[in-house]
């Protein structure tokens, strides 16, 4: 027999384990030894038999009717636990439904709020856009109808001889517009770009698109003795005008 098995059997752990008096550690140790060593298992089984025999010596007739009481309370216990189980299931289902619907509504509320913000922003943008357009149309109307308005015909030079544009300048209302009516064809990688020199600084007025811009009045920033330029720039426009590519200028 292994020394440690002997030591274990000599200790009282197994007897304590038999009665359920062991601490957690002792309990684990006892269970381990019982599983691992046949001699411990045998002793344990023997102890169990002896305990039963010993306890039987003291057997005492149970009183009449106690069995019925016990059976009744056991059944009640079972019903109670079944009931509890049922309630627990019902409660869990209810909680799950509640959680699910809460999440659904929260989610819906969130997306509605997002949509609301989007729509509001869109409306603001449209309103702003509309105001600007209306203002633009009003100014165009003023410029075109005002007797003080001067009309300048602009013709292109160099490779843009076919470029035709009309500029309307009203020094009284301080408004200026240009209508580029004919744009010559340019190689694909080139485009026309408009500029205005205002107070010594060149302001980019954008790229003239070939078809869209016909019959459309473009507002020019007004300044006394300002100069407008049209240049040929690489496709997509440039950040500053290429001076040698100036094809038209409008002094107003």
């Amino acid at each position: 027999m292994k020394e440690k098995v002997k030591i274990f059997l000599d200790s009282d752990i197994l007897e304590k384990h038999l009665l359920g008096d062991t601490s957690k550690e002792e309990n684990l140790k006892a269970e381990r030894y019982i599983t691992m060593y046949p001699e411990v298992r045998e002793t344990y089984n023997e102890l169990q038999d002896n305990l039963e025999a010993f306890a039987k010596i003291y057997a005492r007739k149970t009183p009449e009717g106690l069995k019925e009481i016990i059976l009744h309370s056991a059944r009640k216990e079972q019903v109670a636990s079944k009931k509890f189980f049922r309630y627990a299931i019902a409660a869990s289902v209810a909680i799950m439904i509640f959680a699910g619907s809460s999440y659904f509504f929260w989610n819906q509320n969130k997306s509605l709020q997002e949509e609301n913000t989007l729509v509001t922003n869109q409306m603001k943008y449209l309103e702003e856009n509309m105001k600007n357009q209306l203002e633009d149309v009003r100014n165009q109307f003023i410029v075109l109808n005002n007797p003080d308005t001067k009309r300048y015909n602009v013709r292109g030079k160099m490779e843009a001889k076919e470029l035709k544009a009309v500029a309307y300048i009203n020094p009284v209302k301080k408004l200026s517009y240009i209508n580029v009516s004919n744009v010559p064809n340019l190689p694909e990688n080139k485009c026309f770009q408009m500029w205005a020199e205002v107070n010594g600084e060149l302001v980019n007025l954008g790229v003239i698109k070939q078809f869209d811009d016909k019959n459309k009045l473009l507002a020019l920033p007004y300044a006394k003795n300002a100069i407008g330029y049209i240049t040929i720039e690489p496709e997509g426009g440039n950040t500053s005008p290429t001076v040698q590519n100036i094809v038209a200028n409008i002094t107003y």
């Binding site: 009665l19 305990l51 003291y58 057997a59």
Partner: protein, 188 residues
């Protein structure tokens, strides 16, 4: 107790079939009642203990592991611990010191003996009192071996050896009786 009934009860317990309680009561009720009575030494309290123990057994039914302990060992543990707890709570309630009357362990409680399985009265007499006292102190009075040593004024080593020998003696007697019983049954 045949292993077959034991197995049957265990499977009923696992299925939470309340027939298990009835069978347990029929097969172990008297013994467990005896255990409860031995600890609390009061008929009414013992009944309460037995009832509480059976409810615990019923509640814990699915935690019983046959590979860890025999059915009786498991039942005994629950009943014994319930009885010891009961005794403590009763003593606390009545504001009395938890004082185990040592002289009582010498009183072997002859009136409580139920010799319906084997002739236990004879067997009880066959175990020497010195072993019996130790066994009762440890099994029924919830004493640790240290406490038993102090209460009975016996060295700890002696308590240990008397417990071992007592149980072994008991096993021998039990074994012999069973052999005789078997021989009687088997012989034509």
């Amino acid at each position: 107790m045949s292993t077959l009934i034991e197995k049957h009860i265990v499977s009923l317990l696992a299925e939470k079939d309340d027939k298990a309680i009835s069978l347990l009561y029929d097969n172990y009720g008297d013994t467990l009642f005896g255990v409860a009575y031995k600890v609390v030494r009061d008929e009414d309290l013992a009944q309460d203990v037995l009832q509480e123990s059976f409810i615990k057994i019923w509640k814990k039914a699915d935690s019983y592991d046959a590979s860890k302990a025999k059915l009786f060992t498991w039942l005994f543990r629950i009943t014994r611990n319930t009885a010891i707890d009961k005794l403590r709570s009763v003593n606390n309630k009545s504001d009395k010191e938890v004082q185990i009357d040592v002289s009582d362990v010498y009183n072997l409680g002859v009136n409580g003996i139920m010799p319906d399985f084997i002739d236990v009265q004879d067997n009880l007499e066959k175990i020497e009192p010195k072993y019996q006292i130790v066994l009762e102190a440890l099994f029924f009075q919830g004493m640790t071996q240290q406490e038993a040593s102090e209460e009975l004024d016996i060295p700890l080593g002696t308590v240990k050896s008397r417990l071992k020998i007592g149980l072994r003696e008991l096993g021998k007697i039990y074994g012999t009786t069973m052999t005789i019983l078997l021989l009687i049954i088997l012989l034509p």
